[in-house]
């Protein structure tokens, strides 16, 4: 167990350290002369109007909810895929029901227009 994940832990550490070093290096090597105009958020040359973090269309959240549903489905299917041989016909039927229920959900969303991007 430990031997399997040790290289991944090392890689996480190295990738993070490498990236931090690079960012620091450029902070040292690059100039730092901020002016109010320079550090203003880019808005096509205009002065920024209002706060940047504002309400966003509901469709983005809809996609996020749909994604959570389907991602969980898919992640549950992955372990089944490794055990297809052992589980036999029983597993096939059980997974079939599982996929069928989620497919009904997809068809319902489709008919409701949740998949249309306005």
């Amino acid at each position: 167990m430990f031997e399997q994940y040790y290289p991944i832990a090392v890689l996480v550490l190295l990738a993070t350290v490498l990236s931090i070093i690079v960012v620091f290096l450029s902070r040292i090597m690059g100039p730092r002369r901020p002016t109010p105009k320079k550090s203003a958020p880019y808005e096509s040359g205009m002065s920024p109007i209002g706060p940047a973090v504002r309400r966003l269309p509901i469709k983005f959240y809809l996609v996020a909810v749909l994604f959570i549903l389907f991602d969980i489905e898919v992640i549950f299917l992955l372990p089944y895929a490794t055990l297809v041989r052992e589980l036999g016909v029983y597993g096939l039927i059980a997974t079939g029901i599982f996929v069928f229920i989620l497919t009904i959900g997809l068809v319902y969303e489709w008919k409701k227009g949740a998949l249309d991007w306005e």
Binding site: V10, A15, L18, P34, S39, P41, V63, L77
Partner: protein, 414 residues
Amino acid sequence: MGDIFTTIYNFLSGLLVGWGASPIVADAIIAFLAAAVLATCVLLILIFNIWLERKVLGRIQDRIGPNRVGPYGIFQTVADLLKLLTKEIIIPSGADLVPFFLAPIIMVASVILVWAVIPFTAKTIGTDVNIGVLYLAAVGSLGIMAVLLAGWSSNNKYALLGAFRAVAMLVSYEVPMILMLMMPVLITGSMRMGEIAAAQPIWYAFSMPLAAVIFLIAMTAEVGRSPFDLLEAESEIVAGYQTEYSGFAFAMFYAAEWAHAFTMAALIATLFLGGWRGPGAEQYPTLGFIYFIIKTYAVYFLSIWSRGTLPRIRIDQVMSFCWKFLIPLSLILIVLTTLADKIAQTVLMERFPDYMSTASLVDMLPRASILLAVNLVVGALAVWWIALLGRRERQRQEVAISHLAPVEVGTATK
């Protein structure tokens, strides 16, 4: 003749034990060194890849491409990197500093992490975890987090809107991508990347062409390459989530994007093109490494090609294509493949006792032909269906403009 990686390992291990380290400590040190070399190589090979891409794109667009710095302009990327390193990182006012600098770091790290489970030769793999494919899915999603962090912390409307659009697209295409990751797992019966590569005397791209094509499309979207380059649709949202990044923080996003494209090529090569497999690769693992590199660059070239020739598609088309076409298609493909495989297994087990075996090409033939048949039938039906939809849409548009009187040529200006 041994494997080059095993030789190096044996040499280092002997050296360290000779110096008085216990074998466990020696292993740990070698793993650390290997990880360092791997991470550095992934980033260093970018210098070549970016040059290659710019050169090929130049040729596609009837230009020469970079040709000033070094022979054939090969050091152009080095010059660019040095320039970016000495530029100021402008921090926008009101930016959330921690996520602002965390985003590029996570972005680069998430791409490097994928390489931990890619088998380079028959024997060499960073770490053959028993949940390799699940690990890929998990690590791949980290990049999406970075996009959202970058857009949210920049305090910029374009960045936020770009990040939301990018995340909507990335999470959508994650679903067909993971569904198609399942196909090799289903056939191999293991999530280990090493076993998936080893179980392909017949490449999965030949036995499951439709799955390979869907995976290629979904991965292209995940990487954000044209025709799915909505992440930085410069004509609409300036530069998307990276609008406020400058200097080396920007260079890191840039590097992560390129590294991601190359990683995608390596993944497709491993999962669907047999990874290190090729004539003589089992006896001479070093040869396998060469095959792996050739396949990876072949897929990478395909992605440069698509980038150079395909136009960008609209966000609503991107989303509809995923939810209304790719996901149902992938679900149907998976269900039918599982059923056909199961039925064929029970029916053909007596005639072909080696039906499930992946030891040799001949053993795999019956199973591969059944998989190929399912893939071709589903693919043909999908193409027929989408052609029908296109025809209907065209007819609808023709009806909509049919009340307009046709204008004769030459009379319009009178």
